[in-house]
Amino acid sequence: MSAMDPTEVFRQEASELFEVLEGALLDLGQRPDDRELVDSAFRALHTIKGSGAMFGFDKVASFTHEFETAFDRVRKGEIKPTQELISVALAAKDYIRALIEDPQSTDDIIGEAILDDLKRFVFPDQPAAPAAEIAEAPPLAPSESKQAGWHLYLEFESHILRNGSNPLDLLEDLCKLGPCFVVPVTDGIPLLDEMEPEDCYLKWDVKLHAACDKDAIDDVFMFVSDEMKLTLSPLEQVEAPAPMPLFNLLDEDPAPVAEMVAPIVEVAAAPVAVPPVVKAEPTPEAKFESKPEPKPEAKRDDRGIATVRVQAERLDELMDRVGELVIAQARLTQLASSGSDLSIKMIAEEIERLASSLRDTTMGARMVPIGSLFGRFRRLVHDLSRDLSKPVEFVTTGEDTELDKTMIECLADPLVHLIRNAIDHGIEDTATRSANGKTEQGRIELAAVHSGAQVLVTVKDNGGGLNTARIRAKAEEQGLIAAGAVLTDHEIHQFLFHPGFSTAQTISALSGRGVGMDVVKRTIENMRGTIDLSTRPGQGTTVTLRLPLTLAIIEGLLIRVGEGRYIIPLSAVEECVELTAEDERSRGRNFLNVRGNLVPFLRLREIMTASGAPDRHQKTIIISTGETRVGLVADQIIGNHQTVIKSLSKLHSDVTIFSGATILGDGTAALILDVAQLVALAQSKVEKQHISEAA
């Protein structure tokens, strides 16, 4: 079918159309008022005209055009299809058929006679008009004198894309005419939430460097000329365009380029041409060397970093200010997002970004590498090892790891205690070591490493490990557990953190300085850190401290319980799950099934004694401290919150489950939950349950 000659298809089609036309004309004689017949005849004529012209039957086209024009009056109901008219129309039809099927047999004179007859019936009141030719596009006005280029400004109606026109395609077509310099004009682009994604907002300024006709340009925009504003002006000053890609960044108009380049040249030339602004006049106040060195050969700091010593209090103050700024910014953001003023929203976003980067910079300024602290312990290990006659190798890694300077200071005492413990209780004496096939020299590793928003500090010895049995016996002796209670090793080791708990058989001269493991634990928890022990009998003990990067501002998860809002430090949050109806039913048991693992959970509503009806869909936030996971059930999870920590007053020092407070964007306060305390609370509940179930 596709190989068929379209002309042949037209002949076949035309003969069918003639039958349609003849049938319609004859029927019209019977039913002159049948619109359907008129339309069908008219459509047949129209197709013959259009297709005839397509396939080179020019005479058919021009004759049919006349026929159609005349018949149009019938279609419009201006004249009735009389029998006489129908007879002429049938004759006209026969003439067209002859024109197609056997053109030799026809004569133009016959055709004109038929048309004259037709017009007499159709336009009875006017003389036959000279036959009009098939309307052609009006001859174009002689094109303007050829320009060396054009300056175009294109502005499309906004709906242009929807109707299938693509301005970019048009620009591409324009570029085919010659080298183009295209600049999009973006001032019509609205704000994002006013933007209609299917609309065209861009306008274009185009310099076309081609000596083409205006017609060629009009041709490009032929289909959209009524949907756009095209401002066309000849390019004034035209120089031969340098060979350039279609879209060139550089305007070849020399003047602005020179203007643009000039200041750059000046700047570049400055060190040579302009005498140095800073004369080398050493003043007594010149403490730091951030000023440019006048002489390049002068000795420079290799690292290119100038250091300024700043009093620590100033950094603290700075951090406080930043904290207040973050709170004020949260209020601004809240205010802006509740209103509809877009410019305020934009400013609020900008300030949010700035505050966040200022916070990071300020925190960075307070960061000190932990190596400065590690250095102190070298001497400690050396002295202890000599006093106890235990040769010890001391290895430190991760000295570059940075921590808030306040935290470094707070870490010193706990670390002294841990290292002392490791040598005193951990590392065995030389005789025991060699009896167990170990090297005589013990080994203590002090390491720091970044892990997400936390820093892990580990003290690891390769000594004998914790004596679980002895710890248990001591705990029983002190009445901390009932004899025969079932406890895991890990649970037993937690007694080491109990106040007044010591298993050392002899009090060494080095211990007993008022810092026990319970104090270590409390210090670490005050820094919102956690402490964890792991041990392998005969191989050693590892104490792991997990510390937040900073004390002042944390990433928090804001939740709602009843009317109150609370913050959970994000670093402790593992995941959030919905409390299913099944979990809900297991009241009293308070265990949650998280992918096959049983996790105890606490209902914050009960702990906070919240009033009002609970939310229908309760959420559970799974928090963890090292190995222990606990679920906290809240009414709503609001989202992330930059939390500036304000400590609670002395009045609240006996409050255990909160580690501090913060101020929210709307000015209200939210309490920060103490993760370690909540985990301990949950565990004690679990233990009570165990006991009550056992009983």
């Binding site: 596709s2 459509r43 259009g50 012209a53 397509m54 109707n163 299938g164 032929m222 289909f223």
Partner: protein
């Protein structure tokens, strides 16, 4: 390359469009009136529609308006064929949602030029 629907009650016009566009690498689908055309457009993604205006059952203008209501035809170019060079018809078709037009009679090169203007590789 592109899938083009030609809607015309004249098989010869459809044939002509087919023999010009198929060698140029396009695949041409045919429909004999507006209603058929609309059904074809609903059945699959098209890159271009070339439609006559004067057709039985559903004429070209009705087809263009119906096509523009299809979510799949947003931004799809629609070209109409017209024998008139008067602007009234063009205005009417354009406000119905047409992208461009081809004036009958047209030569194969003219058809290819218009298709090339509206369909990009």
């Amino acid at each position: 390359m592109a899938t083009i629907l030609t809607v015309d009650d004249s098989p010869s016009i459809r044939q002509m469009i087919k023999v010009v566009l198929e060698p140029a690498g396009h695949s041409v689908i045919e429909a004999g009136d507006g209603a058929q055309g609309l059904a074809k457009a609903q059945a699959g993604k098209l890159d271009l529609v070339i439609t006559d205006l004067n057709m039985p059952v559903m004429n070209g203008l009705e087809l263009i308006r119906a096509l523009r209501k299809l979510p799949s035809a947003v931004g799809m170019p629609i070209v109409f064929l017209t024998t008139e060079s008067n602007d009234t018809v063009k205005q009417e078709a354009k406000s119905a949602g047409a992208t461009g037009w081809i004036t009958k009679p047209f030569k194969p090169e003219q058809l290819l030029a218009v298709v090339g203007k509206l369909v990009r590789a």
